[in-house]
């Protein structure tokens, strides 16, 4: 069937065009989308429009039907103008930065792309996707008053440095006849933390129960209550007080006693390499959640800590993420 063949040909050409326009190397942001980086090709509907117009124009020329010819040429002119307009929406767009909060492998990484441009030209509804590298859904970049950002959820698989895929910004506006697109390949280091082990042994360094038992007498004296924050350990919730005040309250200890623990690589022997990293990652998270001071000891590295707080946790997870792959 000719239609199917034409469609295949179109997809082929389109795929080739995409390959040719892809950048070879990543670049450091900020980057400006200049005219040489923006490509415009008709969409499938645009081709249909062109073929339909061509038919009409051929007929009009043959019959010397001037009103039809004029109308057809005006439509063709508007189509061409829409090509230029599509290109204009991307050109001179500046991509300032791309960043993302590190996540555990397996969780989607929320990449934020910040863009800026001279205000005045309408740049809305720009589609941002990862060029089919993964099945991440596209997101929309809207610029208001010359600035805007877009979030793209990228699936992650393994810990370590995350290669930001080639990002594609495209638009089919204003008429849907042509797609203008440009690639950005930000050279932004993004980290993916190891996946924490879902179920595993409790924190080492004193049994969990005794640690709790020791906490209680001390806590009775010094603790005060504060409102629940996401990430607080469940055992820290003061259920009775919570019930009384009708909101979740958490006991806070000024100085949890005896909670300092050592998370040692060598203490996790007996399981696979990646499994050990996962277990340590889980322990790091758990210790941090419980507000305990901990030290992470990895082979061939100086021990991290003992310390606590988000930056310590990130330092530990980063060290775990960057453990060499075997």
């Amino acid at each position: 069937m000719p239609v199917a063949a034409a469609r295949r040909l179109y997809l082929r050409v389109h795929a080739i065009a995409m390959v040719f326009t892809r950048p070879r190397d990543p670049e450091s942001l900020p980057a400006r989308l200049d005219r040489r980086r923006i490509y415009v090709l008709p969409t499938r509907f645009g081709l249909f429009y062109a073929v339909a117009l061509m038919t009409m124009l051929a007929g009009a020329l043959n019959y010397n039907n001037n009103p039809a010819l004029l109308l057809g040429l005006m439509l063709a002119g508007a189509g061409l103008a829409s090509l230029v307009a599509a290109q204009m929406q991307l050109s001179d767009l500046q991509l300032i930065a791309a960043d993302a909060e590190p996540v555990a492998a397996g969780m989607p990484l929320e990449l934020r792309l910040h863009a800026r441009a001279e205000p005045g030209r309408t740049r809305r509804g720009l589609r941002l996707d990862d060029d089919g590298t993964s099945d991440a859904g596209p997101s929309v970049l809207n610029l208001d008053k010359g600035a805007g950002d877009a979030q793209l959820l990228l699936p992650t698989e393994r810990r370590g440095w995350f290669d930001v895929p080639k990002l594609r910004l495209s638009t089919t506006r204003p008429l849907g006849l042509a797609r203008a697109w440009a690639y950005v390949w930000p050279e932004t280091p993004l980290l993916v933390y190891p996946t924490p082990e879902p179920h595993g042994p409790p924190l080492p360094g004193g049994r969990g129960e005794s640690a709790q038992a020791r906490l209680h007498p001390a806590g009775d004296d010094v603790h005060h209550l504060r409102g629940y924050r996401a990430g607080d350990a469940r055992r820290a919730i003061a259920w009775k007080s919570s019930a009384r005040r009708d909101t979740l309250m958490v006991r806070e200890f000024e100085q949890p006693i005896g909670s300092e623990i050592v998370l040692d690589w060598h203490a996790t022997s007996g399981i696979a390499y990646e499994g050990r990293i996962s277990r340590l990652a889980r322990w790091v998270d758990e210790a941090e959640r419980e507000g305990r001071r901990f030290q992470l000891r990895l082979p061939g590295q100086t021990p991290l800590g003992p310390d606590r707080g988000p930056s310590h946790r990130h330092a530990c997870l980063r060290a775990l993420a960057l453990m060499p792959h075997v």
Partner: protein, 656 residues
């Protein structure tokens, strides 16, 4: 490209698409026969209403489509032609909304809807079709824009005016290229394939005439031709635009003979007057041309039949122009060949006995040689006893008898037909001639307009020594009904020379449009640059010119698109301009600089300006960020104040 599920159309977008389809359908329907158009319009409305909430099942859809096709074919009596094809297109467009629910459906519907205005132009190239076609195109593009917005995931609530404005902008940006291609793209001199004929005839002169069948034509006020005279202009009573000449009569219908090609033309001897004129002929879909009685020679692209009727080589599908010279004949076919004489005397047997009897009686009274006396007697009788009316009863078998002896009232068809039968019965060769008479002079542009309603039928009788002589029995009864002149139609009686009637202006514009656009063709394209001294443009030059023009057009496109959009808010616009006025001092406001920072920067460099600018900036900030004065009036006052502020080039201190 998109691997995701089809994007459904939201209600507003769908409404846009459906309205655009309706707008595209409208001009086409107006050109189709009314019953057909009504049927299609009704089914379009019904289908749209049925499928408004949920889709119509596929089988039902197919059924509706088939029924509609059947209706169209039946109403057009299964004759396939240009108009039938257009009707089928309209029918398909009418059914299509039933399956328009996703973005893809919407786009394909819009793509097909674009064919409708084009189909309209195959049937009619008039101003109404053009305006409606433009409106349809604008709406279709606006729908496409709306769908693209939907696809991009950023549907803002844009008002219809703004949306049409955006689309209009695209059209304007593309216009130079479109116009360049229109004038410069090499045209084909002769069509590569023929245009299908219309299956359903429209009113106009044809090769047959039976008394009473012109009622529709006589009320059709659309133009048939426009004429410009160079030099002498004939008197209205001389304006006989001679068309088909009918020889054959079967008792009811007169028909034009089919002459064999190459048959000898009648010899003519032109009279003293010459009329030199150019006709702009509206499309008729037949090859028949008219010419002022009598054309001296056939213009290029046409030929003369033996009875001096003008035929074009190709059907007149579009507006055509003909430069002609005519002269009233002094002698026209003075020696009639015997075969033609017999032909011009033939009458069907068994019809109109009373007329035959009367003719024999007149012949006996007049004697053998005196044909002119019989003609005059008949004219005198008609003038005395007959009346002009458009309300005529259907005639029975003996049409001429019934008209001459019973009704005694009718219009040109009856008069000419009966007169010719009477003459033939009396032994005088005679034939019916159809065409147009008179015309209306449009003072605007100085040309004559002949309408279809000016259609007329008269007679020619052959008299010894003079040949064929035009005799108009209707003119003997009601000359005012025939010679449609300036006095009878325009408001000349009012005495206001400057006041032109609306019709004058519209027809003049129409003529200009025809002149400039509709009748542009390969020949005129060749002479496009003749005012500049280039006699002939061949296609290579055209292509080169076109390439240059397109390059310029593209530059214009880019320039126009690059010009950043004008700030809509007048206050903001005035504020930005104010900031730019400080550029020459190197104190221009930076795009992201807050007003207060800027003012203090200016104050540091130019203390003399600080007070005034500070006040203005304060007002501006109040207007922009405080809710206090957001009225229309305060905005206008602020705009005025911002516009009025001109920083003097030098501070008063420096001036001294």
């Amino acid at each position: 490209m998109s691997r995701h599920a089809p994007l459904p159309l939201d209600a507003r977008t769908r409404a846009w698409v459906l309205w655009s389809t309706g707008a595209s359908l409208l001009p086409l329907l107006l050109q189709l026969p009314p019953h057909l158009a009504a049927a299609i319009a009704a089914s379009a409305v019904a289908v749209t209403a049925l499928s408004w909430r949920r889709p119509i099942p596929g089988l039902l859809r197919l059924l509706i489509a088939l029924v509609l096709i059947a209706i169209v074919l039946m109403l057009s009596r299964f004759s396939i032609g240009r108009d039938t094809g257009c009707a089928l297109l309209a029918a398909m467009l009418a059914v299509k909304p039933a399956e328009t629910f996703t973005l893809r459906d919407g786009r394909s519907l819009m793509g097909f809807a674009l064919f409708a205005p084009f189909a309209t132009f195959l049937l009619d190239q008039g101003p109404v079709s053009l305006v409606l076609g433009l409106v349809a195109v604008l709406l279709v593009l606006a729908s496409l824009q709306r769908m693209a917005d939907l696809e991009s995931g950023d549907v803002k609530a844009v008002g219809p005016r703004q949306r049409l404005g955006g689309v209009g902008r695209l059209l304007v940006v593309g216009l130079p290229i479109a116009l360049a291609a229109f004038w410069l793209f090499p045209r084909v001199a002769s069509p590569m394939w023929g245009i299908p004929e219309r299956a359903m005839a429209r009113t106009g002169l044809s090769d047959r005439m039976s008394p009473g069948d012109w009622i529709d034509l006589m009320s059709d006020d659309t133009p048939a031709l426009r004429v410009r005279f160079f030099g002498a202009t004939p008197a209205p009573a001389q304006m006989y635009w001679r068309g088909p000449v009918m020889w054959d009569f079967d008792g009811r219908t007169w028909t034009q003979p089919r002459w064999r090609p190459g048959q000898a033309q009648a010899s003519t001897e032109p009279g003293g007057v010459r009329w030199d004129y150019e006709m702009e002929v509206e499309p008729t879909d037949s090859r028949q041309l008219v010419a002022l009685d009598l054309p001296l020679d056939a213009p290029g692209g046409a030929y003369l039949d033996p009875d001096h009727t003008l035929q074009a080589f190709r059907p007149l599908n579009s507006i055509s122009r003909w430069r002609l010279q005519s002269a009233p004949p002094a002698r026209f076919d003075a020696d009639l060949p015997l075969a033609e004489r017999r032909y011009a005397l033939a009458l069907p047997a068994g019809f109109n006995p009373r007329t035959l009897a009367l003719a024999h009686q007149w012949r006996a009274q007049a004697g053998a040689g005196n044909d002119a006396a019989i003609v005059n007697r008949a004219l005198a009788w008609i003038q005395r006893d007959f009346a002009y009316t458009l309300e005529t009863p259907l005639l029975g078998r003996h049409t001429v008898d019934e008209f001459l002896f019973e009704q005694k009232a009718g219009f040109c068809e009856h008069f000419s037909s009966s007169f010719v039968v009477l003459m033939r019965a009396a032994g005088i060769p005679a034939r019916v001639v159809t065409g147009y008479t008179g015309g209306y002079r449009n003072p605007l542009g100085d040309y004559w307009l002949v309408r279809r309603s000016d259609a007329h039928a008269w007679a020619e009788v052959w008299l010894r020594g003079r040949g064929w002589v035009r005799v108009d029995p209707t003119a003997a009864v009601a000359p005012e009904r025939i010679y449609d002149t300036l006095e009878s139609r325009s408001s000349a009686g009012t005495g206001f020379e400057g006041v032109r009637s609306f019709g004058d202006v519209t027809d003049w514009m129409r003529r200009g449009w025809n002149d400039l656009v509709v009748s542009f063709d390969a020949q005129r394209q060749e002479r496009l640059l003749s005012p500049l001294g280039v006699d002939r443009l061949d296609w290579r030059t055209l292509i080169a010119l076109l390439a240059g023009a397109i390059a310029l057009g593209l530059l214009w496109m880019v320039w126009l698109s690059r010009r950043s959009e004008r700030e809509r808010d007048p206050v903001l616009r005035a504020w930005h301009r104010l900031g730019r006025r400080y550029r020459r001092f190197g104190l221009e406001r930076m795009p992201s600089e807050p007003a207060s920072t800027w003012v203090s920067r200016v104050a540091a460099a130019r203390p003399d300006l600080a007070a005034e600018l500070g006040t203005l900036s304060q007002h501006f900030s109040d207007w922009r960020y405080a809710d206090a004065q957001t009225g229309e009036r305060s905005a206008r006052a602020l705009t005025r104040a911002l516009r009025a502020h001109r920083p003097p080039a030098t501070s008063p201190g420096e001036r001294r």
